[in-house]
C-alpha cells in the first residue's frame, strides 16, 4: 500500500501558444491538507482540472493507492473518490438544496413496485444529515438561489462530502467568505481530515496556508518548484519561491507624471443592493490608478457600471468638469472612455472573426469611404500599425482571433480600444491568463500610454502587479471603497488590511 492516496507525476499540458503545465507533480497523503500555491497563471487550476478529468493531460500519469488510473471526465473522478469545489460556483439557483446536492444521482424508489421515481423523502433526509456534517443549519428544501454565497459554498462542500470522497479539491474557497465563515470552513476541513480525506487547498492567503496546511507545493509559470512541510515555511519564503528571481525586472520603469484631475466619480451606487455603493474617486491625467480587493469586492461590477454595461441608481461621473450620462457602452465610448473587460472570451474577442474584424469593430466609422463603404486598406493599415507597435504575433490580418495565444488576443483588444484614441482606459485584469513574456509587454504598453497622458484605471488581483504598476491604489471591499494607498507606500499588508474591512 502506497503512503499516498493520489500521485500525479510528469504532468504536461499545452494550450495554443501557452505551455500551461510542464512536468508537474503532486503527491497527496490521507488526512493531510496540501496547499497548492503559485501566482495567478502558474497552472494550479489547470493541474486540478487535469486531476478532475476536465482537461486531458498531454503527458503524465495519475496513481491512486499506487495503481495507475485514468480519469476520463468529472463523473469518473467522482466515482474514483475525487471531488472538487470550484472557484466559481455553478449551482442551479431555481432548484432546492437537496436537488442540487444529489443532482445526477437522485436516490430512487419503485412506485407500485415497478415505476421508478425519485425518493424525495430519502433525498431530503440525507441532505439534512449532510448539512449537519458540514455544520450548516438551513432547510434542505430551500432554493439555492436564496442562499448567500458562503451558504452556497457549503452546499458545494456537502455535495463533495456526500460523494464519500477521498480527495477533496478546494479552489480558493475563502475568496468570498467573511472571517466567521472562514472559521466554519476550517472546522469542516478539520472534520474531513480526521476521516482521512486528503485535501488540496488552493489559496493566495498566506495566513490561511500557514494555519491549516500540512504540506505546501509551489508552482511557477506552469513548472513544479517543490514541496515542503508547512512548518518549514514562512510568508517570505513562500513568496520568494512563488515569484522566483524574476521579481527584480518584472515591471517596466514608469516615466508618467500624473497631472490635473480629469475624471471624477461621486457617490456611485449600483441598482443591485449587494453590489457597489457610495463609490467616489478621482483620476488624474497620465495616472495609473490600481484597483485592489478580494474576489467579490465588486470591482468589475463598479467599472462595468461606469462604462454603462451595468445599471446604477445614484451617482455622478464628471469628465473634464462636465457631467456625463452613461447608459450604455456607446455613451462612454463617444466620450473617449474605453474598457478592456475581464472576461476575454465572454465579452472581449469575437472568436470566429478575423484579427482585422476584431480590431476595427469599435472604430469602423473611421474607415468609411463616402460614409458607407469600409475601406479595406485603412483597416489593414490599422492592423499593421498595431502589429508593429505592440509586437502582435499573427500569421495575417485574416487569421481568426481564436487561434492566437491569450497574450496576442489581449493585444488585439488593446488595439481595438486605442484605435478610438481614448483619454480614459479602464483595464480589468489586463494580464489574466497570459504568459510571463507577454505580460511584460502589456505592462510596457500600459506604462507608455500613461506617459502619453492617458488616464488608466487598472483592476488587478495580483498583488505584485498592483504594487508594481500603480501610481495610486484604490482598495475595495464588499462593494465599498475602503481606502487609497500611494503606490510608493503600497505593501501587500496595507492593501490586505483595507481589502478585508468588512462591516
Amino acid at each position: 500500500m502506497s503512503e499516498y492516496v493520489l500521485e500525479m507525476s510528469g504532468v504536461s499540458k499545452s494550450f495554443p501558444g501557452v505551455k500551461a503545465l510542464d512536468n508537474v507533480q503532486l503527491k497527496l497523503r490521507p488526512g493531510r491538507v496540501h496547499a497548492l500555491m503559485g501566482e495567478n497563471g502558474a497552472g494550479k487550476s489547470t493541474l486540478m482540472k487535469c486531476m478532475f478529468g476536465i482537461y486531458k493531460m498531454d503527458q503524465g500519469q495519475i496513481l491512486m493507492d499506487g495503481q495507475p488510473v485514468h480519469i476520463d471526465d468529472p463523473m469518473d473522478a467522482l466515482k474514483k473518490g475525487i471531488a472538487m469545489v470550484h472557484q466559481e460556483l455553478q449551482p442551479i439557483p431555481a432548484r432546492t438544496v437537496g436537488e442540487n446536492i444529489f443532482l445526477g444521482r437522485y436516490p430512487m424508489k419503485k412506485a407500485l413496485g415497478f415505476i421508478p421515481m425519485v425518493d424525495h423523502a430519502k433525498m431530503y433526509a440525507d441532505t439534512e444529515e449532510l448539512l449537519k456534517k458540514v455544520r450548516m443549519h438551513f432547510d434542505p428544501k430551500q432554493k439555492v438561489g436564496e442562499l448567500s454565497v458562503s451558504q452556497m459554498q457549503s452546499v458545494e462542500i456537502a455535495k463533495a462530502v456526500s460523494a464519500n470522497c477521498r480527495v477533496l479539491i478546494l479552489d480558493e474557497p475563502t475568496s468570498s467568505l467573511t472571517a466567521n465563515e472562514v472559521e466554519a470552513l476550517f472546522r469542516i476541513i478539520g472534520d474531513l481530515k480526521e476521516e482521512g480525506v486528503a485535501i488540496v487547498y488552493i489559496s493566495h492567503k498566506m495566513d490561511e496556508i500557514l494555519r491549516i496546511a500540512d504540506e505546501v507545493t509551489i508552482m511557477r509559470d506552469g513548472k513544479y518548484i517543490g514541496t515542503w512541510d508547512a512548518n518549514e515555511l514562512t510568508t517570505e519564503t513562500i513568496i520568494t519561491r512563488m515569484v522566483g528571481r524574476e521579481l527584480t525586472n518584472l515591471y517596466p520603469k514608469r516615466e508618467n507624471v500624473p497631472g490635473e484631475v480629469v475624471f471624477e466619480v461621486k457617490d456611485f451606487t449600483s441598482i443591485n443592493p449587494r453590489s457597489f455603493r457610495h463609490v467616489s474617486f478621482q483620476l488624474r491625467k497620465g495616472e495609473i490608478l490600481g484597483v485592489g480587493g478580494l474576489v467579490g469586492a465588486q470591482r468589475t461590477e463598479l467599472m462595468e457600471g461606469l462604462f454603462g454595461i451595468r445599471s446604477h441608481t445614484t451617482g455622478q461621473i464628471f469628465y473634464k468638469g462636465k457631467e456625463l450620462t452613461i447608459n450604455r457602452p456607446k455613451d462612454a465610448i463617444d466620450q473617449g472612455i474605453a474598457m478592456l473587460t475581464e472576461d476575454r472570451r465572454g465579452s472581449g474577442i469575437m472568436g470566429v472573426l478575423s484579427v482585422a474584424d476584431n480590431i476595427s469593430i469599435a472604430s469602423l466609422n473611421q474607415y468609411l469611404d463616402h460614409g458607407y463603404f469600409i475601406n479595406g486598406k485603412k483597416v489593414e493599415q490599422l492592423v499593421q500599425d498595431n502589429v508593429k507597435k505592440m509586437n502582435i504575433k499573427t500569421p495575417s490580418s485574416k487569421t481568426l482571433i481564436k487561434s492566437l495565444s491569450g497574450g496576442n488576443q489581449q493585444k488585439v483588444l488593446v488595439g481595438r480600444w486605442l484605435a478610438n484614441n481614448p483619454d480614459v482606459l479602464i483595464l480589468d485584469e489586463p494580464t489574466r491568463g497570459i504568459d510571463v513574456g507577454a505580460k511584460y509587454e502589456i505592462y510596457c504598453i500600459i506604462a507608455d500610454l500613461a506617459k502619453e497622458g492617458k488616464s488608466i484605471i487598472m483592476i488587478s488581483s495580483e498583488m505584485s502587479e498592483l504594487i508594481g504598476m500603480s501610481d495610486r491604489i484604490m482598495v475595495m471591499c464588499d462593494g465599498r471603497v475602503t481606502g487609497f494607498v500611494e503606490g510608493s507606500e503600497a505593501t501587500q499588508e496595507n492593501i490586505m488590511t483595507y481589502a478585508t474591512q468588512f462591516d
Partner: protein, 339 residues
C-alpha cells in the same frame, strides 16, 4: 470556407474543401450518377428550370441568413412570402377578371404594387425585430408566433381562395427570359437574384451594418461592449429579411401565375437548409453570400434529383428533413471536435 494558402497543392485544397462541405459534394456526386442513369436529366431545359427555381429560394435564403448569422432564426419566412404573394396577387388582378377579389379597386400599376408589398414586408420585419431585440423573446419562439399570425391574416384577406387572373404585364415581365436555344434560356429571375446577391455581398463585407452583424453573431456581449448598437442592428436585420421575403413573394405569385395563403409554406426550412449546407453556422458569426448560393443551388438540385428518380413527392419531405438535420449536425460537429 477560408482562404487557402497559395503554396498548398491542388489535391490538398480539394480534399479540404470536400471534407468541409461533405453534403455539397455528396449531392453533386448524386446528381452525376442520376444524370448518367436517367434520361433527360442533363438537359438545357432542366438547367434553366433549376436556375429560375433557385433564384426565388436564394432571395429567401439571403433574407434569413442575417438572422442565422446573429444566432437567431426566422420561422415566419415562408408565411411572409405567402402573404406578399397574396397581397401582390390581389392588387395585380385584371379589371375584367370575373373572380376579382376587390372589385371596387382600380387596376394598379405593378411597380406600385411592388412598393406596397415591400413596405408591408418591412412592417413584418419590424415586428419580428422589435419582439426579438426589445422584448428579448428568443427568435425561434418570436417568429413561430408571427408565422401563425401572418398566415391567419393571409387567410382572412384572401378569403382562403386561390387568386388568379393577373395583369398580363405582371406575369410576362417576371417570367421573361433571354434567348431560347434547345430549351436553354436565361430567366429574368436569375438576374434579379444575382443583383441581390451582389448587393448583399457588399452589405455583408463592405458596410458597417454587415460588420456589426458578424460581430453580434461572433459574440453579442463583446459587440455591445465595443459600442455596437445591437438592438438597432438586429431590428435592421429582421427588416431586411422582411424585404427579401416580400420581393420573393411578389416574384413567386407571378412565376406561378396564381397565389394563395398556403403559398410559401415550409420555405423557411428550405432557406435555413440552404444556408446551413452553404456553410452558415448556427453557432453564429459565420456565413458568406457565395456559400449561401451554393447551398440553395445544391438543395434545389436535390429536389430535382428526387423528381427525376420518380420518388413519390411525399417522400421529398422526409429526405429534405433528413438533409437539414444532417447539415446542422455536421456543422455543430466541427466545433465540438475542437474543444
Amino acid at each position: 470556407m477560408e482562404a487557402t494558402k497559395s503554396h498548398d497543392n491542388f489535391g490538398k485544397v480539394l480534399t479540404r474543401t470536400i471534407t468541409r462541405n461533405p453534403i455539397v459534394f455528396l449531392l453533386l456526386i448524386a446528381a452525376i450518377v442520376v444524370g448518367c442513369i436517367v434520361e433527360n436529366f442533363f438537359s438545357w431545359g432542366n438547367l434553366s428550370n433549376l436556375m429560375s427555381n433557385t433564384a426565388v429560394r436564394f432571395l429567401i435564403a439571403l433574407g434569413v441568413s442575417g438572422c442565422l448569422i446573429t444566432k437567431g432564426t426566422d420561422l415566419s419566412a415562408g408565411r411572409q412570402v405567402g402573404f406578399a404573394a397574396v397581397v401582390a396577387g390581389i392588387l395585380c388582378q385584371r379589371r375584367d377578371y370575373n373572380g376579382r377579389l376587390w372589385k371596387f379597386m382600380p387596376e394598379m400599376n405593378i411597380g406600385l404594387v411592388f412598393v406596397i408589398v415591400v413596405l408591408i414586408g418591412m412592417i413584418w420585419g419590424l415586428i419580428n425585430g422589435l419582439v426579438v431585440s426589445k422584448l428579448h423573446v428568443p427568435p425561434f419562439i418570436a417568429t413561430l408566433g408571427t408565422q401563425t399570425i401572418i398566415y391567419g391574416i393571409s387567410l382572412v384577406i384572401s378569403d382562403a381562395q386561390p387568386i388568379g387572373g393577373f395583369q398580363k404585364i405582371y406575369t410576362t415581365l417576371i417570367n421573361g427570359r433571354i434567348g431560347d436555344v434547345k430549351g436553354f434560356y436565361l430567366p429574368y429571375l436569375m438576374f434579379v437574384a444575382l443583383l441581390f446577391g451582389v448587393v448583399f455581398w457588399f452589405i455583408y463585407n463592405k458596410m458597417r451594418f454587415g460588420k456589426y452583424m458578424y460581430a453580434i453573431g461572433g459574440n453579442d456581449i463583446a459587440a455591445e461592449v465595443s459600442g455596437v448598437n445591437t438592438t438597432r442592428t438586429l431590428m435592421r436585420i429582421y427588416i431586411t429579411a422582411g424585404i427579401m421575403y416580400a420581393v420573393a413573394g411578389y416574384l413567386l405569385a407571378a412565376k406561378s401565375g396564381g397565389a394563395s395563403a398556403s403559398m410559401g409554406q415550409g420555405y423557411e426550412l428550405e432557406a435555413i437548409a440552404g444556408c446551413t449546407i452553404g456553410g452558415v453556422s448556427t453557432t453564429g458569426g459565420i456565413g458568406t453570400v457565395p456559400g449561401i448560393l451554393v447551398g440553395v443551388l445544391v438543395f434545389e438540385l436535390l429536389k430535382i434529383i428526387l423528381q427525376f428518380l420518380g420518388v413519390n413527392p411525399y417522400y421529398n419531405y422526409v429526405v429534405q428533413g433528413l438533409v437539414i438535420v444532417l447539415a446542422v449536425a455536421m456543422d455543430i460537429r466541427k466545433y465540438i471536435a475542437k474543444k
